[in-house]
Symmetry: D2
Subunit: 322 residues, 4 copies
């Protein structure tokens, strides 16, 4: 089994992939096959290789509790035909300020990191490193590597620091000058493990289903119509993000996570209704929830109630004269 | 074929039954069997005989454009198991003031009729017969018969009149003193022809479906929920009446006519959703509309769209791993 | 003070009027003025006299727990300008079978009553008086009077009975052959006391508001729209009746009782929204509930919350540049 | 007048600010005061200075037709008290590939730009510059400046290029190797001009209103409830974005642009209803639309209709007895 992930190594995505591979369900599947982990520079590349069969699954961040949806991942998943999310993993996000030596914070002149991490640690930097200049990097791990590989004879080597994950700081042998430097303590990122079509995991009872719904623009109020469908079938949403269609301002698709599994009649019914009114509906997977929370299902939308309703009309239709 | 109707003879119900028997669909069915028409004093009695097999169908008024729903019929249909409406007929309602002789209106001292007819002609009577006393009768035809059978030597015979149908006045040989005496010109009554279960007529394309829905009282706002279902499936309602459940003030069922036939996927889907949320759902029939009006069906609720939505989820469910 | 009521005397309406006049609020108003009670043959006549100033209030039945809305009253209230419901009264409905002498049930050959009472006691009559003929009367009290005034020498005097209220049987000195003969034990009728405009009683905290809403026929789904308004403002409905507009089948107004008083902000807001979307909106009164039930008011629709919302936009509008 | 903008200079934001300052309305206000433009490294800094009174307005991107909402701007506007959007500007977004010399594309080894621009030109780079390495920069203008300031003797100076705006390429004297290199031709970014509170521009008839609504988490289905409010008042939305509250996954606020102005009664009514049900509601401004599109306002939500509805209840409340 070959697993791609949004690299480079030692980022939170790498960590999420290592975590998800310990899930009992996946452990069983992986017992005899072994595994290879491959870092990709972007999700689009990994998705292409996945569709082509070069890798068996890919791991990518989909949502952060502070920054919101990860556009890059959302847009690739929505645009690529033939992919299915088969698992999710949630990783707490915490940053350290790391340098080559155990210097005072006041000595630091530059802070390297990905712009997202710079944004997430902005308060700490403003207060503790008021004079330091931000240096952009392609990833937090890349920032750590850059610091680690500086020429020790360069005076800047002593005054340069990186904002990175504890894992990256440790891997590259950096000194942690401060930890927990993120503005929002308790931030989390949710990652999804994506496989090729045709492998929807069976219902576990604590599941989530992900879709992308394109509104039909000849129907006014269609987001309202979509939410009414979920409400009518008692399907709760755990995430809803608008994404621009890209052709003009004001035209959107909606990326949605709902409680429940395709095998739940209420979810199946909601998907059918969405299919009727959306101009395009992309099913991105039904999979076990990372938090194991069980949904509360009203009697009116239980599988039994759906079966009884179907029997009711089937019995009537049998009485239609020829 | 034996047809019961809410009697006595020569009422509008009798007229509606004669009219419906001329419908081409029914003509075919009746060609070889002949027909017998039987007047019943009330709908409950006719419904009992219909369920027992003593008659083959019954005709009863269900709705008047001025007076509203006919409670007696609605309640019997809702309460009797095993009945199906198979046709409807609409009859214009007009009354005459009829007497034994061609007297002046100013000579009339009493006006006999059913209380409903008295109500529908109240303006005419107040203006033209200010001193006349109302005499209650069990039906408009019964009122006409009473006048016709008065003893000519009784002085009251000359000063008594009846409010009745033109048909009844003619049948009993009365003089029409005034016609079109109803307050609301253009009033209509809708009648339904009811058969035993198991004989739902096939879809014609211009159909109506009648149900009774009992609200589940542990769900707040359930009438709203019911209307949202019809709206979601693009099913228009042509009649909605609340009827008390009878056990306490403020508890209702709803008697509903909707556009479309049980064979229409949007109607079937609406019935299934209603079955899930109602405490009781009574199907009273799918049958051709008397007015022949064709419904406008949005693409999102056409049979084709429903089929495609079902294929969409069926295709996905086939991909669920064992 | 002169009070009209739907007569004749000794009906349930008469009883309801006597009951409502004992309400403490009305007692105060009536202390010095005295009262006169006047029976009317129909609600329209009483309403005309009320508008003309000949009487000060009128009492009429509006709803029965078995029969449903009382069309005659609903239609007159909806059509008459200048009336306000100021109180309601609920009366348990029970009938007796009464005759001139204490005869055996098997001797009874005719049963006189209003057709509604005949309908409500149909089971009792079918089972216990299988051979008896129904005789229509203008009211249950009139039926009792007719029996009482029969010529004792007429053999039919002994075999005639009336279905009437216990009060009427007693008043006319009849023998009660059987009591509680109604099919639905526990039936109730709700009556309303109606005054001229300009006398809306102040909020008591346990109030009800009555309106008639005409749907705008250029807006599809407008009953749904109306119910959404009540839902949005957390206003529960205790009664909703469709009444035909009278001009054609399928065109309705809705007669509605809602919880709360015009002085409640949520009720005022709902009325304003209804006024915007209805083709016609008739306010028929805010008055204390007979059952004294207190509504549950969600924080989001409390008077305080409405005031805060108004202050929010008022504060913003003050910042608009000239 | 001092105007801040998200710098550095020569980005699209700079261009948008120059454009908006030409709007007739602002021209009038600026005639006598002169103007100074100040680039800020981030929106938070500019917002702080704006609140402190150091600048009079700030310009920032809020939405891109390809990338979606600009989180940095949305989050600062939502979190900062005392700001009002007073104008919007829409700028077409197009990128050029620019270098120090007119070299062949095949010679380019590195491509510098902001990660967002790298993302927006990914297809062009993959196809035309397959071997080139991406170099992160703090902005597209900064990337252009870096290339311009390279030491000509450095061999890399010839093989380095930047993805930047045509304005930046021209300003820094770079050669345009290719223009229109963005994947999505026709992309646009919307910018907003933000002032301090108390300066809401008056209604023009073609306006937009921006808010941030925090859902009350004790109300299930509250996004549905919010959309129902807009639907009930006929207020169309032109943008809706979910933004995480930051405390946990699955908790959101919604950033919303609606058609219409605070002075429109339907908008005022919608804001009041939102205020009642949202745990927090931030008003971010009513301002003229850049596209000048006039909304279609249904009669049921016109100012006149609102006034009439208010008069209706005011007239009734005047009749409540003391």
């Amino acid at each position: 089994m070959r697993f791609g992930f949004l690299g480079p190594e030692r980022t939170f995505t790498h960590q999420a992939l290592l975590q998800v591979l310990k899930q009992p369900l996946l452990q069983d599947a992986l017992r005899t096959t072994g595994q290879e982990l491959i870092a990709y520079p972007n999700v689009a590349g990994a998705a292409g290789d996945l569709v082509a069969g070069d890798i068996d699954a890919l791991m990518a961040p989909i949502e952060n509790s502070v920054e919101g949806g990860v556009s890059g991942t959302l847009d690739v998943l929505a645009a690529t035909t033939g992919l299915t999310i088969i698992a999710e993993e949630i990783v707490p996000i915490t940053f350290v300020l790391a340098a080559r030596e155990a210097v005072e914070l006041s000595e630091i002149r530059t802070v390297a990191s990905h712009t997202h991490a710079q944004a997430q640690c902005a308060d700490f930097v403003r207060i503790n490193l008021p004079g330091a200049a931000p240096i952009p990097a392609l990833s937090t791990a890349e920032a750590a590597r850059t610091i680690a590989e500086m020429d020790p004879s360069d005076p800047a080597a002593r005054t340069s620091a990186a904002l990175c994950s504890p894992l990256a700081a440790e891997s590259f042998g950096l000194h942690v000058l401060a930890d927990g430097v993120e503005d929002n303590i308790g931030a989390q990122t949710r990652f999804v493990l994506v496989a090729r079509d045709g492998k929807i995991p069976p219902r576990t009872g604590t599941d989530k289903t992900t879709i992308v719904a394109h509104l039909a623009h000849n129907r006014s109020g269609s987001l309202l119509e979509i939410l009414e469908i979920f409400s009518a079938y008692g399907v709760d949403l755990s995430r809803i993000e608008s994404r621009p269609l890209g052709d003009a301002l004001g035209r959107y698709s909606f990326s949605i996570d709902m409680e429940g599994h395709l095998e739940d009649r209420r979810v199946e019914a909601a998907l059918q209704s969405l299919h009727r009114i959306c101009s395009r509906l992309v099913f991105l997977g039904s999979y076990q929830r990372a938090d194991g929370a069980e949904p509360t299902v009203d009697d009116a939308v239980s599988d039994t109630t759906f079966d009884e309703a179907q029997e009711f009309t089937a019995h009537l239709r049998a009485q239609i004269a020829d």
